[in-house]
Subunit: 201 residues, 2 copies
């Protein structure tokens, strides 16, 4: 390999695209699209999102004021709507109304669920910290609401039905998920067994 | 849609798989695979990772002791090695040696770069907090080292050359990236222009 040093920048490639929603002070639903998002704890299940704190984002303010938010997963069939929610500001227009999205109250937290999204995680803010340009917010998942169309008979989420949107900031493009390439854990466990056997020779 | 509530659990679907490496107290390179990972600031560029704090992971200890780590991106052609690094423990064997991976000192931080990975981010720990089962560590990116094979002539990273591994915990599978489905920003901006024009009618 021939390695070279790149100009310092955030490598958002690949990153999952989600829509985060929260109520503002008038209990109007705000939403914005973001790609700084990860699970951050198994027990209890938590997510961490990071939102630009320098850009006066309305949804950030609403999350911090209300102490709750919902993470919604748009599908590739909703990529126009998802991109729009990241481009326009909630200070200018009612973005959700514009794209025909509707909301319902979360069942467990004080935040709006976008009805048109097939998977929603209701989260309660349990930690926040501003580092660099972004505020990182950790939310504990209090409820998971999924459309039956994305579930198998064991209630596992089917990736090919969820159709998650993958963002690539290097080419400013969205991608879908491709082919299944390997089993997780079994693949590594087989290698582990091989090495242990090899050591015993 | 017909929505139902799911049993509470972490939704790791989809999540990017990375290999995090750090030096232990004897300056031996540790590495582990994880999927709790996101960019968390544009300026300065930062990443946030979360590692299970209850499982006594060696790499977590090494990161916290040394104050530095490297995020390496394995490709789908390295999925066996990546999975093994997540399955085996560094307390048992020299995992990197077993799979034939070699390391070099980071140029800007006190952490090892895995030579066989095509993209590596050298990070300095600037924040840590334990929430739930995991310790979240934010690292400021101090250097980006990329193999020339994954770059275009403008030094943008090519996703189809990087070949990132996407983890789906719902089916315990790894996936690759699929097709490009839309332009980011242009798609939403076109919708924004349409709505503004429509409002002026």
């Amino acid at each position: 390999m021939t390695k070279k040093n790149l100009k310092l920048h955030a490598i958002v490639a690949p990153a999952q695209t989600v829509v985060v929603s929260a109520y503002d002070e008038d209990k109007k639903a705000d939403a914005c699209t973001l790609s700084f998002y990860t699970m951050s704890s198994h027990k209890p299940p938590c997510v961490t999102i990071a939102i630009n704190a320098t850009a006066k984002r309305k949804t950030l303010k609403s999350i911090l004021n209300s102490g709750a938010f919902v993470v919604g997963y748009p599908g590739t069939d909703q990529v126009k709507e998802a991109d729009y929610l990241g481009v326009e500001s909630g200070y200018n227009v009612d973005k959700l109304e514009k794209i025909g999205f509707t909301t319902s109250d979360g069942q467990c937290v004080n935040a709006p669920i976008i009805n048109e999204l097939r998977l929603s995680l209701e989260c309660e803010v349990i930690h926040q910290v501003t580092i660099g340009s972004h505020t990182q917010i950790t939310g504990e998942i209090k409820n998971i609401q999924a459309d039956e169309s994305i579930l198998n008979d064991k209630d596992n989420i089917l990736l090919n039905q969820l159709k998650p949107i993958i963002y690539d900031e290097e080419s400013f493009s969205y991608y879908d998920i491709g082919d299944r390439v390997a089993d997780a854990f079994k693949t590594g466990a087989a290698l582990k067994r091989f090495f242990i056997k090899d050591d015993m020779k």
